[in-house]
Symmetry: C2
Subunit: 673 residues, 2 copies
């Protein structure tokens, strides 16, 4: 810390100087952060990156036995709430569990269809995963099962390569393998504490993406609702007019209108949530009865047909880890996995915030990941926390994850005994259920809000919307993430810089253009740079600062002000600097020095000193490491703009004949040492 | 501006309150930026993005005729310096022009060989492009011609697909077409003012990239120096031992040592720059004489052979804009173009800074781009400003771009009359010239400096170094840019936040961990967030802030401090916010409110108010647009931390029985309105 103590010494001798000229102003020196070794810094940085929430803080200062219990609770949250579970809660959990089961059964069958899978897989997926989530998950309100977006994406990505109609077994194998990799990816993100990866799907992106996906799904299902069947061969898309059946159309739209109406009612009055929650099952029952009664009169309405009774068959033997389809399975797994994760985590957080408890993102990822890995071995496809089911769960008064167990039990009963009842369930009703579910994803109000608040966010939203609709789901998503990242980079590449002025009677300095109370300080140009200084913006900032100086010179000439003598760069908002940024400061200094040398020859241009104020810890450290601190010398860095102005003005007054020597001579001394 | 004036009114009534309690502290209100329409904002933003240097400022307030002249000078910088050109300068320009010609001729031949092109193309490329640059370029010291990196990359990318030995014409066509696209790409970047694209090649990246490329080139040329010839067929790489010739080895290493020695001498003494500048030509002359004298005795040394006399033949007919090779040509053009541009611009800037004039990046890009487009029609390959030639040019005393014209003239004379002299020039000397040129690119000192100052920059440097060596040149470059961008994103994803304390006797608040003079303010938790709040970090920041609160609570419990009542978020360094960021603030408020509600029931937890200080202009605007400003209410936002602490403390003292109502009741009023 040689430099630092040196500076403090030099400084105190200087302070006496100042005080004699300008009493009452105390000047503070800028500190370096406490010294740390590279290893300590690395450790701190890594712990900030991977453990921002300090997940092990509960373990501190505990007995060995308590630690073991805490560890068990940490790994399996069920041990956290199960011992405290009381029968009083069971009633609410049973009610909410049965309510979401009534939603989960028709949705499960429908979403399986959306993923081009046999309907029974949807029911399997509503049985095993909720049970596993109940053990591993930390949210009390998440309703687990297949969701529309992930099902759609899995279906569209897989059926591009493999036709589910022509090669059903290969398709099924692909779907289970993709589910396995989705789970593996999710669990690894959680284990490696890389949860922030999903943060790059910004809300704006998701609004656009969801809406786009909803439009695609709706159009696709509308085709079914209109009773149009098309040939699977890719080139032919001619609607077979003869296959139209008015009975299908009437039934489909009738029940769609019914479900949309119930949805509207529930949205108007939160207490009537059960109206929309019960609507799908009611529709299924009514339409099945209808088809059953009319079965002799009409043959145009297609229905599900035979579904096998019984529990989930094991499917571990259907996973494969080699072969030409592996790449497709991994790709599909990652895309669906990341989207399922985003939905699950954000839904979990939403309802946790409503009840004021916290959900640990990384732990949730592991729970969802293991749930999918287990699911892929028991004939399930991708599942996650679903918004619609969680909302119903929450409104129905769910208290703990027991509601998921109740739901799974209800599905179990269905699987074991009630499957024949679905024989006459018309396919068209599944389409209606899907449409009524996804239509809520088209969130034009959120899009309008984005437009109002942030135009670039709105652009990202539009990009993902049109990308999904017109290009493809994974590419649309990629484009949207690209736009979001570009937005960050644009802000870094073209940072804001502004002139500051003093607010009279205070030590506060603020933007001249924003605060009318702020006024220029004669002979000073105070610039605030509002961004880290990086390679990506150092060239820009150099040009911009030189332009500020040029414009200030012009302003002074026009207004006959006192000539510019000192440039203060306020570094408060410069939260980081890299080697290019340090080079920029170096270059700026040199340029201003050259100008000063010229100034001695021509009287038109004045000497210009460059001073920094309030560099943050990491910037100060880098300045020190790169020896820039020495070259700036003692009078080059101040703690606050006010102190810099006061001190430098005092220095000018005390040495009226050598205003140029402000920091130049001292710097020479430093380098000569 | 209803909200704002409302706030100002409310505020003044409140100030009276405060003053009665705590005289002497004047509280300032936070302003919104002056109101602008979306179109005005867009215009300002675009002009900051594309015209940061305000390139047309010279045109303001000028007569029509003057404007025309300025426009001409703007487009063709030659009109700027040519009228002021005096004979006095000519002498320096001729000396420096001849000096760089002596370097350019051997380098041109060598670099053409590096790009697998006929040696004569290297000379052509040292004739037309310098002339065009003299008209369009704004640097006085740039020595223009082929450069090693761009030649290497063009050679390696093109010869992956087309063998220069088996299909020389196709290869030549590809090279000219790639040069055309490189020029087109460069000129478009300049025209569209997208020059910041090259800023994404950070210095760290370039250090690694250049070193890696230098290692590859050296190894490749070393093969030639050892006299090993290998089969062009890709699979066979067996050195043919019989083709070794000791004469080649001796001559190659002899001259390599000679050139490296001269380089060392020139580096030690800048005045002896001409020693290394003249070395390549001397080596060429000496080695040619040697081979000429020994031609009857040894047949092992391969030499250049016949070179056609005469000026650049037109090659516009060799460009093509369709066919299967087009994609390769465009790809090669873009990669070489961007690298050539980076070198040219940075070299131009370096020497401009030494003489204290400015180089307009976008104009330079257009100059280099047009130079390459014209070059591609006159049998030239990619050219740009070369570091070695520019340094020699600068040291030889070049005053204007006339030195480039002199050099071109010298090359012209060579092309017209001196070509037969190169008949016996041994190929091995070209390898020696290339090695001695690229060895300076291995900048281990810069790499060490990166390691010292910024570990992540060093990582980017290593990535590009090993990427170029072990993967491929374009992929290595891509990886390096990826690492640089990742570094920016990492900083955004995991921003710094810290607790601030008051420096006694001042209104300055600073990091507690850095400043020992700073001390905690009882009942307040003052957090500074050092980053924009984006979708990419809002989740992290929420967790981090809650952890700060938890830790503060623990600290208070352990130290028996006064309970936490107010959390101040200092937004000075939050230079931007997006919709997710606003949601974060909203969530935080809600969470703290919920805690406050609990606090009324249990005496252990205190009420917590959330207050923002000093939001910058753009953040303030977004808070306003999203109605967050209304919900924060009047006592929720302050101009400075000091004012917030003073005002809130005063409020607590004046209303000791209702500390909870600090901003809650007011907010309720606001929302009820």
């Amino acid at each position: 810390m040689g430099v630092n103590s040196n500076r403090v010494e030099d400084f105190s001798s200087h302070r006496i100087n100042t005080e004699s000229v300008m009493p009452g102003i105390e000047i503070h020196t800028v500190c370096l952060s406490p010294k740390k070794t590279t290893l300590q810094k690395l450790k701190q940085r890594l712990s900030e990156i991977f453990f921002p929430d300090d997940p092990l803080y509960r373990f501190k200062n505990q007995t060995w036995r308590k630690k073991l219990l805490l560890g068990l609770q940490f790994l399996f949250p069920i041990f956290q709430w199960a011992p405290e579970y009381r029968l009083k809660l069971l009633r609410s959990d049973i009610i909410s569990g049965l309510t979401i089961a009534s939603l989960a059964i028709p949705q499960g069958i429908s979403y399986a269809k959306l993923a081009n899978l046999p309907p029974i897989v949807g029911l399997y997926s509503s049985f095993v995963p909720p049970l596993i989530y109940a053990i591993l998950g930390s949210s009390s309100h998440l309703g687990v099962g297949p969701v529309s977006i992930a099902s759609l994406i899995m279906g569209s990505m897989l059926s591009e390569t493999v036709s589910p109609r022509d090669e059903p077994i290969r398709y099924l194998k692909l779907a289970f393998t993709a589910t396995f990799f989705a789970g593996l990816f999710q669990a690894s993100l959680g284990l490696l504490r890389l949860g922030f990866v999903i943060d790059f799907l910004s809300k704006a992106t998701l609004v656009g993406f969801m809406s786009g996906a909803a439009v695609i799904v709706s159009l696709q299902q509308l085709k079914g609702l209109l009773g149009i069947s098309h040939f699977t061969s890719k080139m032919q898309f001619i609607p077979v007019m003869s296959s139209w059946s008015w009975q299908t159309i009437v039934m489909g739209f009738g029940f769609l209108v019914f479900m949309l109406t119930t949805r509207h009612i529930s949205m108007k009055r939160a207490k009537l949530f059960w109206v929309s929650a019960a609507a799908p099952l009611t529709s299924v029952i009514l339409s099945t009865l209808l088809v059953f009664c009319l079965r002799s009169k009409t043959h145009n309405i297609s229905f599900i047909g035979h579904l096998p009774k019984g529990l989930n068959p094991p499917s571990a033997n259907m996973l494969y880890f080699s072969g030409p389809d592996l790449e497709l399975a991994i790709k599909t797994g990652i895309v669906t996995g990341i989207l399922a994760l985003t939905e699950g985590i954000s839904v979990g957080r939403t309802f946790a915030a409503l009840k004021n408890y916290q959900v640990d993102g990384n732990k949730e990822m592991m729970a969802i990941g293991f749930m999918n890995m287990a699911g892929s071995c028991s004939s399930c496809f991708v599942t996650t926390g679903s918004f619609s089911r969680s909302a119903v769960n929450y409104n129905a008064g769910a208290q703990t994850a027991v509601s998921n167990i109740v739901m799974a039990t209800a599905v179990l009963v269905t699987l074991l005994f009630l499957m024949p009842l679905f024989y006459y369930t018309p396919n068209v009703i599944l389409g209606a259920i899907i449409i009524s579910a996804v239509i809520g994803l088209i969130d034009y109000q959120a899009a309008y809000c984005l437009w109002k608040v942030d135009k670039l966010d709105f652009l990202a939203c539009l990009c993902s919307f049109f990308g999904v609709i017109f290009i493809s789901v994974p590419l649309g998503l990629g484009i949207a993430v690209g736009v979001s990242v570009f937005k960050i980079l644009l802000h870094v590449t073209r940072p804001n810089s502004l002139i500051m002025g003093n607010i009279k009677g205070t030590q506060i300095y603020h933007s001249l253009s924003r605060y009318k109370e702020a006024s220029r300080v004669p002979s000073f140009l105070i610039l605030a740079i509002e961004s880290p200084i990086y390679f990506a913006n150092s060239t820009y900032l150099q040009e911009r600062v030189l332009r500020w100086i040029r414009e200030e010179d012009e302003w002074i000439k026009a207004n006959d002000g006192s000539p510019l003598k000192c440039i203060i760069l306020d570094m408060t908002a410069v939260t980081a600097i890299d080697t290019s940024g340090i080079d920029l400061l170096c270059e700026l200094r040199k340029m201003l020095e050259k100008r000063s040398l010229k100034a001695r020859l021509s009287p038109n241009q004045s000497h210009l000193a460059l001073v920094l104020t309030n560099p943050v810890g990491s910037v100060m450290e880098k300045l020190h490491q790169s020896k820039m601190l020495d070259s700036f010398g003692l009078n080059g860095i101040y703690l606050a703009v006010g102190e810099a102005v006061a001190d430098i003005s005092a220095l000018w007054k005390s040495q009226p004949d050598f205003p140029e020597d402000c920091n130049e001579t001292r710097q020479c001394k430093e380098t000569r040492r």
